[in-house]
Symmetry: D2
């Protein structure tokens, strides 16, 4: 996310614009937490995890009064255009806001879940998947030597992209994702067949959004059904949201940040900049809803073949 901020600030200055930062999203906009960003403020941040602008959810922005306050703050600071970085919620908020208040705005897809329409990949996704596989690689180092089942919970409340990609990447034996509705019976069967074949190592990646209740939930069901099975649970949690961004995320964020400023200068507004087939493309905010893309059945088939 910092790479996007750096690109926006420097591209803006290059075009003789005066860039400002707003802290903690819409909440900071309401509270007037707005300050000029100079080129040196964004030196040496491209490699930092997190974001120098911080994030927060704002209930107040959902109200008319909140939006009114936010708009007044923008006026007061003479902000003439906005660049919004966020996910589904950010753009839904934007749609409401722009119904009433006229101010040019471009969005950037900033969510690790990769579940947005209008871009092949969201900023943060590649880093999150790499973080997950690094952790799972370490589990695999010891998994070989023990007759236990390792359950690893990765992020993705409504979307299983992180689980799917990290599962393929780490060579997991099974992947549980919200979209897949994989029945617990099928998993139990697989484990029991593995036991018959004396195949001991097993790493199962579980998306936190799984209705069974994450890795802890799966672990409990397994203990009931296969009492002599020893399971070990890892919950990666917010480990996946931090860390130095991957090269791919930095380049994506740089290109989209650069493109967002250029788009505003060309008069585009209320669109999200995304990357599709290596080109920067623009999609109206209203269409950047959460994606309910079905998982590719080819990939799911491949996982089954490769896990054996």
């Amino acid at each position: 996310m910092n790479a996007a901020v750096r690109a926006i600030v420097r591209t803006a200055i290059h075009h003789q614009l005066l860039p400002f930062g707003i802290l903690r999203g819409y909440q900071g906009m309401i509270e007037g937490d707005i300050f000029e960003l100079k080129t040196t403020d964004v030196s040496n941040i491209i490699q930092r995890g997190g974001t120098i602008l911080k994030t927060a959810r704002s209930k107040e922005f959902m109200t008319e009064a909140g939006m009114q306050k936010a708009y007044e703050q923008l006026q007061r600071h003479q902000i003439e255009a906005l660049i919004l970085i966020g996910g589904d919620g950010t753009f839904r908020g934007a749609v409401e806001f722009f119904k009433k208040y006229q101010i040019p705005a471009i969005g950037l897809p900033g969510t690790i879940d990769n579940d947005l329409n209008g871009t092949d990949e969201t900023i943060g996704f590649d880093t999150a998947v790499n973080t997950a596989i690094e952790a799972i690689d370490k589990i695999r180092d010891t998994a070989e030597a023990h007759d236990r089942l390792f359950l690893v919970e990765v992020m993705g409340r409504d979307a299983g992209y992180i689980a799917l990609h990290s599962g393929i990447g780490c060579g997991a034996e099974q992947i549980f994702i919200p979209e897949q509705k994989e029945s617990i019976e099928e998993m139990i069967e697989m484990i029991q067949e593995d036991k018959r074949r004396k195949k001991l190592t097993s790493i199962i990646v579980v998306a936190e959004g799984d209705e069974i209740g994450g890795a802890q939930g799966v672990s409990q069901i397994l203990k009931e059904r296969i009492p002599d099975l020893e399971t070990r649970v890892t919950v990666l949690g917010h480990v996946q949201r931090g860390g130095a961004p991957s090269s791919r995320d930095r380049i994506l964020a740089s290109r989209l940040g650069f493109g967002a400023v250029e788009a505003l200068l060309k008069g585009r507004t209320q669109e999200m900049a995304g990357m599709i087939n290596d080109e920067v493309v623009f999609t109206p905010f209203a269409s950047c809803v959460k994606l309910q893309k079905p998982m590719s059945s080819d990939l799911l088939e491949m996982i089954r073949v490769l896990a054996k």
Copy 2:
């Protein structure tokens, strides 16, 4: 652990000895899972996590019949001396075994918990702590921006060394360790004072052995006592047992492995090789019990001062 195996094999060969590996510890000894190790078998393993010899717990070795079988296997393979790598349990097993069967043996402290008498540090501890702080660093990247409490569970069922060291290393606001019997009341008070001071970020490192029930247990108590507090739980689990070993662990393991072979050649037996003040020293197996060393009150005091 692989660095120790490499050092043992090459030092043995250097002294014209014939080294063998035994898979899965005492269980493999009983089952005769014993094979020659050549110098090339230990090429390119110093940087690998886990162990090429695998590990297992053996209930059978606790019985006289099991020990008898193990001894017969050693005889059958003409094994003249043993080097054992493990923790408390390994050496307790050894003491029993050597009461009955005469075979020279040297032990190496191989446990990530760092809770053995006879050495300043156990093989694997430094790597585990580094793995934990890398994970917690990533959590800190996002922690700053959110008004939540992050609970991170690290390993250490009976000993809080990993929690203590990773807590200092990552600048945690609080550390929960079995030894410390830190009252939950004290923690709740601290959190409430932080809330009054509007100090939002908080990372608490919890040792899995904590009687409250690990990070999940602490989280539940906090939810009951401070209902508006949002907590996020990370359970690092076996992530801490794998990964490329740190430089320090590799050097420690190499020196102890090298020293173990030399010690056997000098006629030492039934002792564990440890490193104390940068010197290889030897301690009888019977004294290498689990250490109930009180945590240094200086370090605990320092943590409190530095977390503010």
Copy 3:
């Protein structure tokens, strides 16, 4: 590369085929270094750098006698189809070989340089770029504090893709790539202007293929032209060829390996499997030559804007 081998072996076994590995490429083919690969041989290798099949250049394979020997070995082991992993040279060799000898073959793009036609990305490229930026991030940590110029040489003898991507990813002030023919005068001017502006930090990424002689060459020219400039040189060298592969590379290699076996079963031959716009596509070996794609002038323009 190991992820591709794993995918090929397991997909082949899934289709009741019998997979073999050939060590050290064409040279191993000539020498008959050929052995069956079982499903367990490829367990736990997806996360390893390098390749279990090793690599070598073979001058002998350039001769008719060499090709003849290679073909005889394939016959002798009853190999009915080949999957080749490599770069430009691998496929040029293949074209010659298949002029004379009939055997179905599919290629996979295995080179860190990313300079092959027929695929958006080669296997290994994403990992190499991530390795480079991790190293450069560390240099940046200290670069800020010193009034020195840091020159970092990355791989890419004929192609500057690693330099371009790692340069954007690490926020380098300047990038030297073979394709760009950036005049040394322009660089000297930029440094002198920076000195006037008292802007001290400067990281310049140099592709090894640069005609000036790599980072050492650039350093020498700079010392002659700007005598009071202190430069520090890092040559990353083969560091970029190893290390645990990135998630993206593992998924790419898995999908192409899976696709290669399926393609052979469908009767395709003498084509390279590549990934274009997230789809597996096939390109005749003869067209998979080294790509002389001009660097995108948009990206070069962006670098200039963002480095200020």
Copy 4:
């Protein structure tokens, strides 16, 4: 180094003292680059490489006029005590300064070279060694497959500690260090014997201080003497000075920073705080000269045994 600054600031505030930071060492002292450090200024820095206080060499401080200016700045800011972080040069400068000007001062050993008297380990050394072995591990991934000699240059102009420790840690075949005066002839002999034994992989770690001219120098001599030997050079350079510090360095720096403030309060002055056998100890500045400790011949012997 940041961990030390954090510990100093927070310990000082805990004792109701008012901590200041001085940018760029003695040069910043002369120029009055001095500012208050609050507890929040040192939040979230324990994991950062480099130092928020920056570093610089100061020729001006070597002169009487420079020292005079520095002292006046300290007076002007009402600085009542100093904590100096640095190496040999820092403490030599201090000795001169304190001959003329009376102000309590405690030093901390901050140099990656580990060549200071008065402490078992300097702040930064463990991190530098871990960075070096991570890089060399990646080289080893590909080294196996090629018949080439890999030369890796690590830091250590006058001291070979980084070379020695990273060489043991990565299982290098040979280590070249300034202290060792290893004759080039011995190395050439080893390589030629390896060639006879068809042992192909070889990683040689070279300390930059080596009189032969670093890895490039060794490479050139080898090319002349063994013309058919292919060598590859990596120069890690400043990569070793950055990156997130290891757990061990953070704890060392925290304890020494904490101890330095407490020492000043107890009236100690003109001493360096060091860690010897896990205890904080104090050594007069004049004795903290560069250490010409002979390399342990035991360790050098061990390397030879283990590399075979």
